[in-house]
Subunit: 379 residues, 2 copies
C-alpha cells in the first residue's frame, strides 16, 4: 500500500487562498459599499445558507450548476446537500416559497461566498465572492435597465470609472439553429464564439446569411442595434431584439456616456438566461466585473438580476483608505486611546514598558506614535 505523502500543513487546496491585511479589510469594505448602494436602490438583503439539499439547490435555474457543486452527506437527514456554487438559484427558491406572498416587483440583494468544484484556466479560484441583486416579477425593459443602472451605480460607489456593458440575447442563436443539423451545432457555436465568418459560412446552411449578418452587427450599441433590428429574424427573435433596443435606449437616457456594446451571437457563460443579458467590464480590461440577465424564477416568474464579483472589482478599484496605525506606548491612558480611535486611528498598544517607543512603533509597522500626548507621524 502506498502511503499518501505528508503535505505541508500551511498548503491550501488549489484555488483556495487566505486574504491577508490590508486586502481582507479592503475587500470586506468594498463589498459592504456595494451592498449599501443596492440597499439605497431599494434592494433588500437576504442571506441564504451556504449548504442546502441538492434537490432545492439544483431545481429550476440551479440545474446548470450541478457539476460545479461540492456535495456532502447530511448525517441528520441522510440526504445529500450541496455547497452553493451560485446564489441566484437560492434567491429563486426564496422568492417562490417564503417570499411568494410578498408584493411584486420583489427587489432582493445578497452578498456571500460561493464554491466551485473546479477552477478554470481563466478563473482558477474555487471560492468566489458574489454581491448581487434580483428584480423579480416584472418582464419589462425598465426592469432590465434598472438592473444595469444599479450595478453601474454600485461599481461607481467603490470608485470604478470607465465601465463598459456588453449586452447579448443568449437564446437568439440557439433559436435560429432548428434548421441546422444538430451534429453541426457545437462546431457552429465555436465558430460564432471565435467570430470566424468563414467557418460560419461553411456550417450555417440555410441560416448562413442571417448568422453572418448577426456576426457583423456586433459592436458599439449605436451601430449594432439598428443592424440587429433590420436583420431578417423570425418573430420570437425579433421580439427579443426589440427588447434589447428598448433596454439600450432606457440605459442611454440615464447614462448617455456609458459605453454599451452589443454582441448578438454571444451565449457562452449564460447558463439559465432567457432574455437580455449583460456582462460588465472596465473599459480596456479583460476582467469581468459582473454578469447577469433575464431568467425565469422558479421556472415561471419573470425575473432579471446581476451578480458583481467583489474579488475582481477590488483589483481595479482605487484602494480604500484604512485607519492609520498609531502606537500607544505602554501605560497610555484608556481615555487617550479612545480619543485616538474616535479621531480615526487604529491604536496599537504596548503590552510592556518599552525603552524606545518610536522604535517599537516602527517595529510593529505603525505610521504614527502617541508621545507625551501628541500624535506624530513617523518618518
Amino acid at each position: 500500500m502506498n502511503e499518501t505523502p505528508t503535505i505541508h500543513p500551511a498548503l491550501l487546496p488549489a484555488g483556495l487562498a487566505d486574504v491577508l491585511p490590508p486586502e481582507a479589510e479592503r475587500q470586506a469594505r468594498s463589498s459592504e459599499a456595494i451592498m449599501d448602494c443596492f440597499s439605497a436602490h431599494g434592494y433588500q438583503r437576504v442571506t441564504p445558507p451556504l449548504l442546502e439539499f441538492e434537490e432545492s439547490l439544483f431545481s429550476g435555474s440551479g440545474a446548470a450548476l450541478a457539476e460545479q457543486t461540492f456535495r456532502l452527506m447530511d448525517p441528520e437527514s441522510q440526504r445529500m446537500m450541496g455547497l452553493r456554487a451560485d446564489t441566484t438559484p437560492q434567491i429563486g427558491r426564496l422568492a417562490t416559497s417564503r417570499l411568494a406572498a410578498v408584493p411584486r416587483p420583489l427587489r432582493l440583494a445578497y452578498c456571500g461566498q460561493v464554491l466551485h468544484v473546479r477552477g478554470t484556466q481563466l478563473q482558477p479560484e474555487r471560492q468566489l465572492s458574489q454581491a448581487g441583486i434580483e428584480l423579480i416579477g416584472h418582464d419589462t425593459a425598465a426592469a432590465d435597465a434598472e438592473i444595469i443602472l444599479t450595478a453601474i451605480a454600485a461599481l461607481e460607489a467603490v470608485g470604478l470609472k470607465d465601465l463598459s456593458v456588453d449586452l447579448t440575447i443568449p437564446r437568439l442563436v440557439p433559436s435560429l439553429l432548428d434548421e441546422v443539423p444538430a451534429h453541426l451545432h457545437p462546431a457552429l457555436a465555436h465558430a460564432l464564439d471565435r467570430k470566424d465568418a468563414a467557418a460560419v459560412a461553411e456550417l450555417g446552411g440555410a441560416q448562413t446569411t442571417l448568422l453572418l449578418s448577426l456576426l457583423s452587427s456586433s459592436g458599439s450599441a449605436s451601430r449594432a442595434v439598428p443592424a440587429l433590428l433590420s436583420a431578417d429574424l423570425p418573430a420570437a427573435a425579433r421580439a427579443q431584439a426589440k427588447r434589447l433596443a428598448e433596454v439600450v435606449s432606457a440605459v442611454q437616457t440615464v447614462l448617455p456616456g456609458l459605453q454599451l456594446t452589443v454582441d448578438p451571437v454571444e451565449f457562452r457563460g449564460y447558463r439559465y438566461h432567457t432574455g437580455v443579458s449583460m456582462t460588465i467590464f472596465a473599459t480596456g480590461q479583460q476582467m469581468e466585473l459582473g454578469r447577469g440577465g433575464r431568467y425565469l424564477c422558479g421556472d415561471a416568474e419573470p425575473a432579471t438580476g446581476i451578480t458583481l464579483y467583489p474579488d475582481s472589482i477590488i483589483r481595479l478599484a482605487p484602494p480604500l483608505a484604512l485607519r492609520p496605525r498609531l502606537y500607544l506606548p505602554h501605560g497610555t491612558s484608556p481615555a487617550d486611546a479612545q480619543n485616538a480611535r474616535v479621531r480615526g486611528y487604529a491604536t496599537v498598544p504596548g503590552l510592556a514598558p518599552e525603552a524606545a517607543p518610536g522604535d517599537e512603533a516602527r517595529r510593529l509597522g505603525c505610521s504614527h506614535l502617541l508621545f507625551e500626548g501628541v500624535i506624530t507621524a513617523l518618518s
Copy 2:
C-alpha cells in the same frame, strides 16, 4: 427498493436557515460594526477560505473540532478537505506560516461563517457567524485583559449594555485530578459542572477539600479571586490563579463597572484552551455572546483570543435603523432619485405608470412617497 420520498423544494436541512429582510441587513451591519471596532483597536483583518485540507484544519488546536467538521473530497488533489467548524485554527495556521515573520504581538481579526456537522439542543443552528480577534505572541495578563476589553468595546459598539464576563481556568480542575482514579473523572466532572457538592465530596478522594473550596469560591470576582488565591493549590495551578487575579485587576482598572464573575471549576466548551478563558453574557440572559481564552498557537506560541457570535448579538442588540423606503412614481427623474438616496432613503421606483402612487407605495411596503417633488411620510 424503497424510493426516497420527495421533499418540498423549499425545505432546508435542520439547523440551516435563510435570513430575510430586514434582519439580513441588520446582521451584516452589526458584524461590520464589530469588525470596525476590532480594526480601531489595532486588529487587522484576515480572511481564510471556507475549505481547506483536513491535515491543516485539524492540526494543533483544530484537532478538537474534527468530529464537528463536514468533510469532502477535493477532486483536484484527491485529498479530503474540511469545511471549517471554527476560525481560530485557521488563524493559527496563518500565524505560523505566511505571517510567521510578522513582528509580535500579532493582532488579527476575522469575520465569517462556520459550519457544524450536528446542532445541539442548546444550539440547533449548524451554520454560525463568528467575528473574532487573536492576539499572538504575548503571554501576559495585559494581553488577556486586552482581549476582554476589546470584545466589550465591540459589543458596546452595537448598542449592547449590561455585559457580564465569566472567567475561568479550564485546565485547573483537570490538573488536580491526577490522584483521583481515572474511571471517576467523568462522574466528577459532571458533579462539578452541576455544582453538586455532595457528589464532589463522594468522588473527590484526596482532593475533596480542595475541590469543595474551589466550588464554593465561584461567583462575583471581588469575592472569588481572594478565595481562589487562598486555596491550597499546587504550584502550577497557583500560578494560573495568580494570572487570573491579574487579569481581573487589569480589566477592573479600565472598566470598574463591568460585571466580572469567576467560576474556577468551569471547563465545559473550552476545547483547546490552556489559560485564563472567558465567556461573555448579557447580564440576566442565558445567551452566550462570545467565548475565548488563552491557547497555544501552532502548539508553541502563546496566544489568546475571543470569538463573538453575531447571530446571538443581534437578537439582544437594539435594532439598527435602516434606510426608510421611499416610493418614486414612474417617471421620477434620475436626479430626484439620486437626491433622495443621498438624503438617506432607499428608493423604490415604479416600473410602469400607476393610477394612485400612494396606493402603490403602500402595496410595496414603502413608508414614504415622493409626490410633486416633495417627500411625504405615508400614514
